[in-house]
C-alpha cells in the first residue's frame, strides 16, 4: 500500500522591530538574563499592553509579499495556559481575526512549480526562555514580549523536501522584505509541523499529528522523515493513528508523545480587553505596499531581461538580497553586467564562503569593485593582476585605480616594450619557436608566458601573441 503524506507548517518568525510587542523594551539579545524587562513585559499587576505599530506594519508587509488578503479589522485575543515562561499565564495572540488571510508560497517540487497555500498570518508575543540545569531551571524573561508573527500553512506539502523548499523560499521572501533576519541560530524562525498520512486513493486527510521542538531546518526534515516512517509502520500493521502532539528529540532522533487529545490544552481564547482592535484603511495598506521590495522570483526575471545574463546567473544573484543589490550597484557604477555576474559568482561568493563573512561586513564597495572590473575591461590591467588585487580589496577595500598606479601594475600595451621582450624570448627559445612554426599551437602559449614573465605579469597577453607572430612572420 502506498501512502500520501500531508504536511502543514506553523512558522513563528521574530519581527525586526526596535522594541517589544507591547512595551518599550528593546529587542537586544546580548544582555544578562532578566535585565531587559519592564512592568509590562513582566505582566506585573496593573501593567497594560500597548500596541507596537511597527510589528503590525511588518506583518502586513509580509502578508502583501505572500499574496495574503489584509484584514481591515483585526483584533487580539488572550490564549490562556499556565507555564512559567508566560508571565501573565496568558499569551496575547490573534485567534478569530488575524491580520492576514490566505496567500501562499510558490515552490519547486520535483522540478515542477507548486503552490503551497497559507491559511493565515497572525501576530503574537513570545514567551520567556527556560534553561534547564542539572538540579534547577532558570527563566530568562528578556525574550518575553518579543513580537512574533505566526505563518500557518495549509497541509499542502507532500514530502520533507517540499517542506524544506517551502521554508527556504519563505525565509528568502521574509529576509528580502526586511521583516525578519530569520536567523535560525538566534531562534528567530521556528516551526511546528503537523503531518498525516492516508492511503493512496483516499480523499480525506488522515489523523493529524503535531510535532514541536525542532530548532533547525535539518531537525524538521529529520522529524518529518521519522514521523512518516513511524505512521506508515503503524498503519501498515493495521494500527490507528491517534491525534496527539509529539515532541522531536534530536538526541534520540525520534518523536515522543507530548500530550494526547484528552490532555490537549483548552486555551479558552477570548478578546483581549486591554487592546483596541487594529483598523487599517486602504491608504495605510497602500503606503506599506510601496515599501515592498521585489520578490526574489520577480527580481530573477528582471535580471535576465534587463542585464541579458543567463537564467542560471540571475538565479544565483537574486537568491540573497544583499548580493542582488551589490550586483546592481556595481553595474550602476559602470561595470559590464556579465562580467560583474561572473566575478560575483566565482570570486566574491567564494571569498564570502571561505571567510564566513556577510557582504555587509566587508569593506569592498560596489564602487571599487566596478572600478577594478573597468580596469580589466579596458585592458588597463590583465586578468592575473585583477585576480591578485581582488582578495586585497575584499579584505581591506581601497581604490583599484590608485593601487594600479602606485604599484605600476598597469598592463604593458606599449608595442615597443613588448617587441623588445618578444625578441629576447624568440632568441632564448629556438626549439619552441621551431615547434610553433611546425604547427604546434601550445608552443605559442609558452612564448607568451615567457613574455609575461619578463614583463612581471603586466604585458597584454593578446598583444604579446600578436607581436610574436609578427616577428616570426606568421
Amino acid at each position: 500500500m502506498k501512502y500520501i503524506v500531508s504536511i502543514g507548517l506553523e512558522t513563528h518568525v521574530q519581527l525586526k522591530t526596535a522594541t517589544k510587542m507591547f512595551c518599550g523594551c528593546n529587542l537586544s539579545t546580548d544582555c544578562p538574563p532578566n535585565t531587559n524587562i519592564c512592568p509590562v513585559c513582566m505582566g506585573l499587576p496593573g501593567a497594560l499592553p500597548l500596541m507596537n505599530k511597527e510589528a503590525v506594519k511588518l506583518t502586513v508587509m509580509s502578508g502583501l509579499m505572500l499574496g495574503c488578503e489584509i484584514s481591515k479589522y483585526s483584533k487580539f485575543d488572550r490564549k490562556n495556559y499556565f507555564y512559567p515562561d508566560m508571565v501573565k499565564n496568558y499569551q496575547i495572540s490573534q485567534n478569530t481575526h488575524p491580520l492576514c488571510i490566505g496567500g501562499g508560497v510558490d515552490i519547486t517540487a520535483n522540478g515542477a512549480p507548486k503552490h503551497i497555500r497559507i491559511n493565515h498570518i497572525h501576530l503574537e508575543e513570545d514567551a520567556a526562555k527556560i534553561n534547564h540545569y542539572a538540579r534547577h531551571s532558570g527563566i530568562d524573561y528578556n525574550r518575553c514580549g518579543t513580537p512574533l508573527m505566526e505563518i500557518v500553512s495549509e497541509p499542502d506539502m507532500s514530502s520533507p523536501d517540499e517542506a524544506m523548499e517551502y521554508l527556504t523560499t519563505l525565509k528568502q521572501i521574509l529576509v528580502y522584505a526586511g521583516v525578519s533576519d530569520c536567523n535560525l541560530e538566534d531562534g528567530n524562525m521556528r516551526s511546528d509541523v503537523n503531518i498525516s498520512i492516508r492511503p493512496e486513493g483516499q480523499e480525506q486527510l488522515g489523523t493529524k499529528i503535531e510535532i514541536k521542538n525542532m530548532n533547525t531546518f535539518k531537525g524538521i526534515y529529520a522529524a518529518l522523515e521519522h514521523e512518516i516512517a513511524r505512521q506508515t509502520a503503524v498503519v501498515s500493521a493495521g494500527g490507528v493513528i491517534q491525534q496527539e502532539t509529539r515532541r522531536w528529540d534530536a538526541d534520540l532522533g525520534e518523536t515522543i508523545t507530548m500530550r494526547t487529545k484528552e490532555n490537549a490544552h483548552d486555551y479558552r481564547y477570548f478578546p483581549e480587553p486591554d487592546l483596541l482592535p487594529v483598523v487599517l484603511d486602504d491608504e495605510t495598506i497602500d503606503s506599506w505596499r510601496k515599501l515592498l521590495p521585489e520578490l526574489p522570483s520577480q527580481k530573477k526575471d528582471r535580471f535576465v531581461e534587463q542585464y541579458a545574463i543567463p537564467e542560471y546567473d540571475a538565479n544565483v544573484l537574486s537568491a540573497q538580497l544583499p548580493v542582488a543589490d551589490f550586483f546592481e550597484k556595481t553595474i550602476a557604477c559602470g561595470a559590464q553586467p556579465k562580467m560583474v555576474s561572473n566575478w560575483i559568482m566565482t570570486e566574491l561568493l567564494r571569498l564570502l564562503g571561505e571567510s564566513g563573512k556577510e557582504l555587509a561586513d566587508i569593506p569592498l564597495t560596489p564602487e571599487s569593485f566596478a572600478s577594478l572590473l573597468k580596469l580589466l575591461d579596458k585592458k588597463t590591467i590583465n586578468m592575473p593582476t585583477a585576480k591578485e588585487l581582488f582578495p586585497e580589496l575584499f579584505e581591506k577595500g581601497g581604490d583599484p585605480e590608485a593601487m594600479v598606479k602606485e604599484r605600476g601594475l598597469g598592463q604593458v600595451s606599449d608595442s615597443g616594450a613588448i617587441e623588445g621582450f618578444a625578441k629576447q624570448v624568440i632568441e632564448a627559445n629556438p626549439k619552441v619557436v621551431e615547434d610553433f612554426l611546425g604547427g604546434k599551437g601550445p608552443a605559442l602559449q609558452f612564448l607568451v608566458g615567457q613574455i609575461m614573465k619578463l614583463s612581471r605579469g603586466k604585458a597584454n597577453p593578446q598583444m604579446a601573441a600578436e607581436v610574436i607572430k609578427k616577428q616570426l612572420g606568421v
Partner: protein, 481 residues
C-alpha cells in the same frame, strides 16, 4: 491647630491652604492623627506611610511657596489597596500579594502627585475588588462608620469608610460593577464612576479590564468634580482611554439647576424584593427633583433583567485571565507541597493564596470560557451586553439623566451575605448595567432609613457626559440638603 477631618472637603482644604490658615503638613498631620484615633474600630486603613505622607506634604507646601495653587495641591488622598504607588504595598487585600511592594506608579497616582496630592494611606477592599461588603478582605473586616455592626459596602469599602469615618478628606476607589457607588451609598458619601475610557487603568490591578474604572469617593459633588479633573484624561500607557479633552468639572458646576432637567426613571429598577424604605426614600428624592422643576418621565431599559447574569459572566471570564499571573512563580505568596512539582506549586499557592470568593469567580470565569461552553455563556453574554448598551443609548435620546436606587437595601449587617453569594450578587443589580454599558454614574445621599442608615440615589449619564451628570448631582445635593 485642630482640623476636623470629618467635615473637611477638598474644596475647603484647598481654600484653607490658599488662605494660609493651615499648611499641607498640618492638614496631613491632622489626617494621620484622625486615623490613629478614629480608625481603631472602623479599620478602613490597611497601611499608612506616615513618613512618606509628611514628606509629600512638605513638598506640596514648598510648591505652594513657589507659586502653585491647584485644588489638589497638598491634599492627602486615601488610596484603595488596588492602586500601584511606587514603594508602597499593593496587596488588593489578598494574601497572594502579601508583602508585594509596587515598583511603579499607576497613572492616577502619577497624576495625583503632579497635582500635588499625597497618596497618604492604603484602604481596605474586597479581595481583588470582588465583593460588595469588604468582608472578603484577607486582612481585616472594615465596619460601616455610620453603624458599626454593618458593612461599609464594597468593594471600595475602605475608601467610603475612611471618608465617612472622618479619617480621610477624599479617597480613590475602583468600580467594576458598583464598587464605588455602592459603598458610597451605604456610608453616606458621594461616589462617582466615570465613563469607561475617561480615566487610565494603568497601574490599577485589573479585575475585569473591560469594566474597571477609577473614581472618587468623597464628601460632596464638588469634590468629586475636583478629583475627577485631577485623574481623568488620555494616557500613553492605556490604549482604552479616549483622547478627549478634560473639562474643568468644578467650574462647570456653577449655576447647576434641576429646572428643565429631563429625568428618566426606568421601571425595571423599581421592583419587588427591594427594601421598601430605600425605595420610598429614592422615590421621594425624585419627587423633590420634579418639584424643583425637573421633567420626570418613566422610561424602559428592557434588558435590565439580564444584567446580573451578563456581568457575572463577562467579569469573571476576564478575571480568570487577569488573576492567572498570581501563580507563586515570580512574586507574592508561594507554597510548595511535598510533591515538589510545578503543578503543586501552582495548586497550593493559588489554593491558599486566594480567598473563597476570588476562587469562586475564577472557577466561574474559567468555566464560561471553556471549550463547549464559550458560545452558550461568554458569547451570548457579549451579545446581551450590546443590547444593554443599546438600551441606554436609546434612553438618553429622551432624557438627560437616569435616576435609580444605588442598591436594593441600605447597609446590611456583617456576615449576612458571606455564605450566600447569590444574594450578594443580586445586591449589584442596579449598578452593574452602567459598567456593562460604559456610561457614567454617581451615587448621591438622598435620605435615611428609620434606622438612620444612609440611602443613595444613583444618577446615570451617557458616556463622557460627566459634566451634565455632575451638574445634576450638584443640583440634587442642594435640593436634598
Amino acid at each position: 491647630m485642630d482640623l476636623d477631618i470629618s467635615k473637611m472637603t477638598i474644596a475647603a482644604a484647598a481654600d484653607g491652604m490658599r488662605a494660609k490658615d493651615f499648611s499641607s503638613v498640618e492638614l496631613t498631620q491632622a489626617v494621620l492623627k484622625a486615623i490613629k484615633e478614629k480608625d481603631t474600630e472602623v479599620k478602613a486603613y490597611l497601611t499608612v506611610d506616615e513618613e512618606g505622607a509628611l514628606a509629600g506634604a512638605k513638598e506640596a507646601d514648598d510648591r505652594r511657596a513657589a507659586g502653585e495653587s491647584g485644588d489638589m495641591l497638598g491634599i492627602p488622598v486615601a488610596m484603595k489597596d488596588i492602586f500601584n504607588v511606587k514603594g508602597q504595598p499593593c496587596t488588593c487585600a489578598s494574601k497572594i500579594l502579601e508583602g508585594y511592594i509596587a515598583p511603579f506608579d499607576a497613572t492616577v497616582t502619577r497624576k495625583l502627585r503632579e497635582a500635588g496630592a499625597i497618596p497618604a494611606g492604603r484602604v481596605n477592599m474586597d479581595e481583588f475588588a470582588m465583593g460588595s461588603s469588604t468582608e472578603h478582605s484577607a486582612f481585616q473586616i472594615t465596619r460601616n462608620p455610620v453603624a458599626l455592626d454593618r458593612v461599609p459596602g464594597g468593594s471600595s469599602g475602605g475608601s467610603a469608610a475612611a471618608v465617612a469615618g472622618g479619617t480621610a478628606i477624599a479617597s480613590l476607589g475602583t468600580d467594576t460593577g458598583g464598587s464605588i457607588r455602592s459603598p458610597a451609598s451605604y456610608c453616606g458619601c458621594v461616589g462617582l464612576k466615570p465613563s469607561y475610557g475617561r480615566v487610565s487603568r494603568y497601574g490599577v490591578t485589573a479585575f475585569a479590564s473591560s469594566l474597571d474604572q477609577v473614581g472618587p469617593i468623597v464628601k460632596n459633588v464638588e469634590d468629586a468634580a475636583i478629583l475627577l479633573g485631577a485623574i481623568a484624561g488620555a494616557d500613553s500607557h492605556d490604549q482604552t482611554v479616549l483622547d478627549r479633552e478634560v473639562p474643568d468639572y468644578r467650574a462647570a458646576l456653577a449655576g447647576a439647576s434641576l429646572k428643565g432637567l429631563r429625568i428618566g426613571v426606568p421601571k425595571e429598577y423599581f421592583i419587588d424584593g427591594c427594601d421598601p424604605e430605600v425605595m420610598a426614600s429614592v422615590r421621594k428624592a425624585i419627587d423633590m427633583c420634579a418639584n424643583a422643576g425637573a421633567e420626570v418621565r418613566e422610561i424602559s431599559l428592557p434588558h435590565t433583567e439580564y444584567a446580573i447574569a451578563v456581568y457575572y459572566i463577562c467579569a469573571t471570564a476576564e478575571a480568570s485571565a487577569n488573576l492567572a499571573r498570581f501563580d507563586g512563580i515570580r512574586y507574592g505568596f508561594r507554597k510548595v507541597g511535598p510533591e515538589a512539582t510545578l503543578q503543586s506549586l501552582y495548586d497550593r499557592s493559588r489554593t491558599d493564596g486566594f480567598g473563597k470568593e476570588v476562587k469562586r469567580r475564577i472557577i466561574l470565569g474559567t468555566y464560561v470560557l471553556s471549550s463547549g461552553y464559550y458560545d452558550a455563556y461568554y458569547n451570548r453574554a457579549l451579545k446581551a451586553r450590546t443590547l444593554i448598551r443599546n438600551d441606554f443609548q436609546k434612553a438618553f435620546e429622551s432624557c438627560d439623566v437616569i435616576m435609580t436606587p444605588v442598591a436594593p437595601t441600605a447597609a446590611y449587617k456583617l456576615n449576612s451575605t458571606v455564605n450566600d453569594p447569590l444574594k450578594a450578587y443580586l445586591g449589584d443589580i442596579f449598578t452593574v448595567p452602567a459598567n456593562l454599558a460604559g456610561i457614567c454614574g454617581i451615587s448621591v445621599p438622598c435620605g435615611k432609613t428609620s434606622e438612620n442608615l444612609p440611602v443613595g440615589l444613583q444618577l446615570l449619564g451617557p458616556a463622557f457626559g460627566e459634566v451634565e451628570l455632575l451638574r445634576a448631582a450638584a443640583a440634587c445635593e442642594k435640593e436634598f440638603a
